[in-house]
């Protein structure tokens, strides 16, 4: 517990102070964003085994809800963040029936839901509301420092959520359900309630993250915030480090996002190739991520 809190505080502190030493704030912001999303995936996949392939749907919903509540309702950006989170949770509530599906079926249905959301938001018929395929311009609310601070706070929230799950009855119950649903039910765990809580928590993190992204980036298109790559990056970062741990997704994000920013922007196809091969190798040789390597060496991962 102490080690986990220290890891979390150190990570948040690092990102809070980093802009002083390092000029590329957008890179830091994106790294934090993927860190929050990877932890959001971790909350769901690590603790329940549901792999949300359409996780980006919550992110996009949060980004659009936040941006539109500033543009159409004149809310303050901070309030808009909350709206983004709430709308993502509402989308999560609508999609709760998907949790009845298992394994790959859930992943595919979730992906389909995110794509459906994308086609609704980007539909030219809805231009009056969402501006359709032409995207959002949020320059009126632009404030790089405040939105960066918001993302730091959000990172703290995401890490605290994972620490809480690792050390609480809820997290224990979720892991019991993941391992053996029937036995968990027999032990008196309310399976439907617990996994719904994890699902909505995960949606909330992505929604807040989307709204913070919209505020920071200020100009974006539907394909930016509903890009399947967002889900995929977050999933692979979490799995690479090791799901169901706090440090795993942090390490996974820092290593792979670092690699991405080094070669992914100038030579995306080579990055994609490495990325694909890393995934194949991971599944075949290290299905529990880097964390399992360090646990095998006798070092407990927080």
């Amino acid at each position: 517990m102490l080690k986990a809190v220290l890891t979390g505080v150190a990570t948040v502190g690092l990102f809070a102070l980093a802009p002083v030493f390092y000029a590329n704030q957008t890179l830091l912001f994106s790294a934090m964003m993927y860190l929050v999303l990877a932890q959001g995936i971790n909350v769901l996949y690590g603790f329940t085994g549901y792999l949300p392939f359409g996780y980006v749907g919550f992110f996009g919903a949060g980004a659009y809800a936040g941006a539109l509540s500033v543009l159409r309702l004149g809310l303050s950006p901070v309030l808009a963040l909350v709206v983004g989170g709430v709308v993502a949770v509402l989308v999560g509530v609508v999609l709760v029936p998907l949790l009845r599906l298992s394994g790959a079926y859930f992943a595919i249905a979730n992906l389909a839901a995110a794509q459906a959301l994308y086609y609704v938001v980007s539909n030219p018929d809805l231009q009056a509301l969402t501006n359709g395929p032409y995207g959002i311009n949020l320059a009126v609310a632009y404030n790089a420092t405040a939105s960066y601070a918001a993302m730091v706070a959000l990172l703290g929230l995401a890490l605290a959520t994972v620490v809480y799950l690792r050390h609480s009855r809820l997290g224990l119950a979720l892991r019991a359900i993941r391992e053996d649903r029937i036995s968990a039910e027999l032990a008196g765990i309310n399976v439907v309630r617990e996994r719904t809580i994890a699902w909505l928590l995960s949606a909330l993190l992505a929604g807040l993250c989307g709204a913070a992204f919209a505020w920071y980036i200020s100009v974006f298109y539907p394909e930016t915030v509903f890009s399947l790559n967002v889900s995929i990056f977050a999933i692979v970062f979490a799995l690479f480090g090791g799901a169901a741990t706090l440090a795993g997704p942090i390490v996974g994000t820092l290593v792979l996002y670092g690699l991405y920013s080094a070669i992914g922007i100038s030579q995306p196809e080579y990055f994609q190739l490495i990325f694909g091969l890393v995934i194949v190798g991971l599944v075949l040789f290290l299905p529990d991520g880097l964390a399992s390597l360090s646990e095998r060496a006798g070092f407990e991962v927080p």
Binding site: A104, N123, P124, I279, V283
Partner: protein, 291 residues
């Protein structure tokens, strides 16, 4: 308009059945989710494109070469990854992630090898004269695609129901353990199924320039989604059900495009979600799959 939509829907439906058939065969036999299915279709499309560019072969004549290349690829892929995957803790979920990685790698390799420019094969390779059905004119390429699809579905039917290997394949589909106990070489059967699966995807790819749009490295992801929709409509793990799924999908797509076109691209996703929630085991359901 309606006659055009229905005949077009039939042709596209047959073709979509072929597109998804390999995915379903692989899932049925190995319970593996081949998320790279669409990317093998993309490779098949490029193979047909180069066969046309370099040797002037039509996609129909290119099929022979595709059979050899892609069934060999399927066999190699099987022995390289699948036995290890099936021995892991959660093969279905891990296969999903593994084939996703493979899909990324294949897309990247295709970009490196062929570049990002969209390519196409002129639809006039099958003659300029349109085919008339019910007084409506259809491109000859649509007809050829439909006919080839029917022929390949027939081939899969004969393979599954009228060959020794097919009987063993169906035994593995209904129970891998029992098939193994009764002396069936499960690895040989499964490798053959993956070979046939990739071969079918690649052959569908040969006609994709006429049915799905231009050939490009990134086309696979959308194809995989459509294949899933078709497969799920027609029951996962039931290869011949895919044909029904394809027809339902092709017809609804054509109807949407004719009468409600700005919402047409929502269709595969909504159909997929609706069917999974209402009838998760597909239209020919035998058993449901709830978490």
């Amino acid at each position: 308009m309606l006659a055009y939509t229905l005949v077009g829907g039939l042709l596209f439906g047959l073709y979509f059945g072929l597109v998804a058939l390999g995915l379903n065969l692989v899932f049925g036999v190995m319970r593996l989710v081949n998320l790279a299915h669409g990317d093998f279709l993309m490779l098949g499309a490029f193979a047909a494109y180069w066969a046309y560019q370099l040797f002037g072969l039509t996609p129909v004549s290119a099929l022979a070469a595709e059979v050899v290349i892609f069934s060999a690829l399927g066999l190699a892929l099987y022995y390289a990854v699948v036995p290890r995957l099936l021995a892991s803790s959660d093969p279905e979920m891990l296969s999903f992630i593994l084939f996703f990685g493979l899909s990324q790698a294949l897309q990247a390799l295709a970009v490196i090898a062929f570049g990002n420019n969209p390519r196409s094969i002129p639809a006039t390779v099958f003659g300029r004269a349109p085919v008339r059905i019910l007084g409506q004119a259809f491109p000859a390429a649509w007809m050829v695609s439909g006919v080839v699809s029917v022929a390949l579905v027939l081939f899969v039917y004969l393979y599954l129901y009228h060959s020794r290997l097919g009987r063993a394949t169906r035994a593995v589909m209904s129970s891998r353990e029992e098939a193994m106990v009764s002396g069936i070489d499960v690895h040989r059967v499964s490798a053959a199924a993956l070979g046939v699966g990739l071969m079918l995807a690649a052959m569908a790819g040969a006609f994709s320039p006429f049915m799905l749009g231009s050939i490009e490295p990134g086309m696979g992801t959308a194809v995989t989604t459509v294949s899933f929709t078709v497969t799920v409509i027609g029951t996962l793990g039931e290869p011949l059900g895919t044909v029904l799924g394809g027809l339902v999908y092709g017809m609804s797509l054509m109807l949407m495009e004719s009468y409600l076109s700005s919402w047409a691209n929502l269709l595969p996703y909504l159909l997929l979600i609706a069917i999974m929630l209402v009838r998760p085991a597909g239209l020919l359901a035998r058993r449901a799959r709830y978490a």
